[in-house]
């Protein structure tokens, strides 16, 4: 459920970009050496093997949204430490370090803007901030993004990247799964489309709530997507996990993803989806409610 990286190194220093710094980078998958500028132009994917490197919210906003159109919301929300949680170090210190290392305030950013001229709300997660874990701030900001979409009747797009729930907020973080699902239920009742883009990795409580509730679910190639983390499954089952287990292609095969989309095609795909699945007029929504009422009578 929670994020499964065991070492302290992993917990605190997970980089959103698993690429080394410098002018040239070597692909961690195929060894191809690429000029950094070229990598950027290639949407941070390896030109040879197609590996999609982990990127952060800044890159996704640049990549998806029309230039200058993104208007960020709820930028002032910051995690606090409601339970005074201390393990080897206090939660407050982890938050402070997360902020310092990433320049972010938490593991999600939300806002409105346009994709190929079409308005939408974007909620984009950052794995680099405490493993993309969902605590109160992620839950609240995602909820507000859904509310904006519902009120303005513009589609909601979520880019997910998360190790799961934020343990240091214990039951409060667990309840963010319920909270975000409530908002998506309201969005669904209002018949406003919700699109999900699953990126590497999306596991735990985020997968078991808003990541799996899209009207249309896209995934980047070879992203790890699952409920339990691979290590936990290995420990529990004492079995070796099959090749490609829990990857995007596995999820497509098992029926949990609609499409695997190369990062360079995400923007185009989303804008096409916006036009193929248009937001119905509000009057239609009222008519549908009337139908419900009759059915119950």
């Amino acid at each position: 459920m929670a994020w499964f990286n065991r070492t302290k190194q992993n917990i605190e220093d997970q980089q959103s970009r698993d690429m080394p710094d410098g002018l040239w980078t070597k692909c961690s998958n195929c060894g191809e050496i690429t000029y950094k500028k070229q990598l950027e132009e290639n949407f941070y994917t390896c030109p040879k093997c197609n590996k999609h490197f982990r990127i952060g919210s800044n890159q996704y906003i640049d990549l998806l949204m029309d230039e200058g159109s993104f208007h960020e919301e709820a930028t002032d929300l910051v995690s606090t430490d409601p339970l005074h949680f201390v393990d080897e170090k206090p939660y407050t210190a982890r938050i402070a370090k997360g902020m310092r290392d990433t320049g972010l305030r938490d593991a999600i950013r939300i806002g409105t803007g346009t994709i190929e001229g079409l308005e939408c709300t974007l909620a984009v997660m950052d794995f680099s901030f405490i493993g993309g874990s969902m605590g109160s701030v992620v839950g609240e900001k995602f909820s507000r993004a859904a509310d904006i979409s519902r009120q303005r009747r513009i589609p909601l797009v979520a880019i997910t990247a998360s190790g799961g729930a934020r343990m240091m907020e214990a039951a409060i973080s667990l309840m963010q799964m319920a909270k975000t699902s409530v908002r998506l239920a309201q969005l669904a009742e209002a018949r406003v489309p919700y699109f999900v883009v699953l990126t590497d990795p999306t596991t735990g409580g985020v997968t078991a709530s808003f990541a799996m509730l899209g009207d249309v679910t896209l995934a980047e190639p070879n992203a790890l997507i699952g409920f339990a983390g691979p290590r936990v499954i290995e420990q529990m089952t004492k079995k070796k996990l099959p090749e490609g287990f829990q990857r995007s292609e596995f999820q497509l095969k098992h029926g949990f993803v609609d499409h695997i989309v190369h990062r360079k095609d995400l923007r185009r795909t989303l804008s096409r989806l916006f036009t193929l699945l248009p937001v119905p007029a509000k009057s239609q929504e009222i008519a549908s409610n009337g139908l419900h009422a009759r059915a119950e009578a």
Binding site: M1, A2, W3, F4, R6, D76, L77, V78, S79, T80, P82, L83, F85, V86, D87, E88, R105, S136, V137, G139, E140, A165, M167, M168, E169, A170, A171, I172, L174, M175, M177, A178, S181, V182, R183, A185, A188, G204, G205, T207, A208, S209, A211, M212, L213, I225, G226, F227, A228, I233, M236, T237, K239, L241, P242, F245, H254, G255, F256, E296
Partner: protein, 318 residues
Amino acid sequence: MAKYVLEFERPIFELEEKIAEMRSMSDQLDIGDEIEVLEQKVERLRVSVYEQLTRWQRVQLARHPDRPYTLDYIALICDDFIELHGDRAYGDDKAIVGGLARIDGIELVLIGQQKGHDTKENLERNFGMPNPEGYRKALRLMKLAEKFSLPVLTLIDTQGAYPGIEAEERGQAEAIARNLLEMARLRTPIVNVVIGEGASGGALGIGMGDRLLMMENSWYSVIAPESCSNILWRSWDYKEQAAEALRLTARDLLEMGIADGIIPEPVGGAHRFPAQAAEALKGSVLPAIRELMGLPLEMLIERRHERYASIGVWTTAG
């Protein structure tokens, strides 16, 4: 009979054994007064031990193999119950049981996670760790309840959804997520009770509703203390500290504003006095169901939404 005795229960058991032994001799000897003295003593001891339980000790109680599980509660509180099996898509998950029930003249749909009392039962029940088809069966039964305007009672008792290869293939995450969405808008009252362990999304997957009650010695959190210890302390040995840090008891969740009420257990725990525990559960659940059934549906759903909207703590920075 070999009994599973927790460390902190031992002094109580020793006294109880002594009393039983004296009782067996009381035919020959006039020791009635002494027995009475010892009985008062054991009662005082029980109270004092149970007043000072640590969070980890509560976790141990919540997991006690003699603790009443869903089917035990069903047997103790339902006037009638017919189990309904299967998710109509893949199979029947025995880690979740559900069916049509009647309690004190109220027909309802009852769904609960089911552990086993011994190894054989546990293998059959997968140690109370549901697979996706369990969550989908639960959803099917909730929809049935909605269709026929029956309230839903769910009993939560799991160390988590099963982290297995097949569970992932069949969409464990999707099954839980779908349930959350549907429970958010199910047009009938839902009462959730944590009867033992409430671990993470696997618990929440049948755990959303209009009221959350917790048995006094149950726990509910985002992760089990051992796993939390393993991740944050990089060792399995800090489970006591993890239990404290997670604040996972009924009282903690009441203070956080997540639980709505605590169902008192008999002193000594539900595993010692299951009938009394069941009576207490029934006594807390029925008024909640009756009250919720009296609410107009729109108000019920609106309040449910507000309930969850209000959970979360953050601050604002400039």
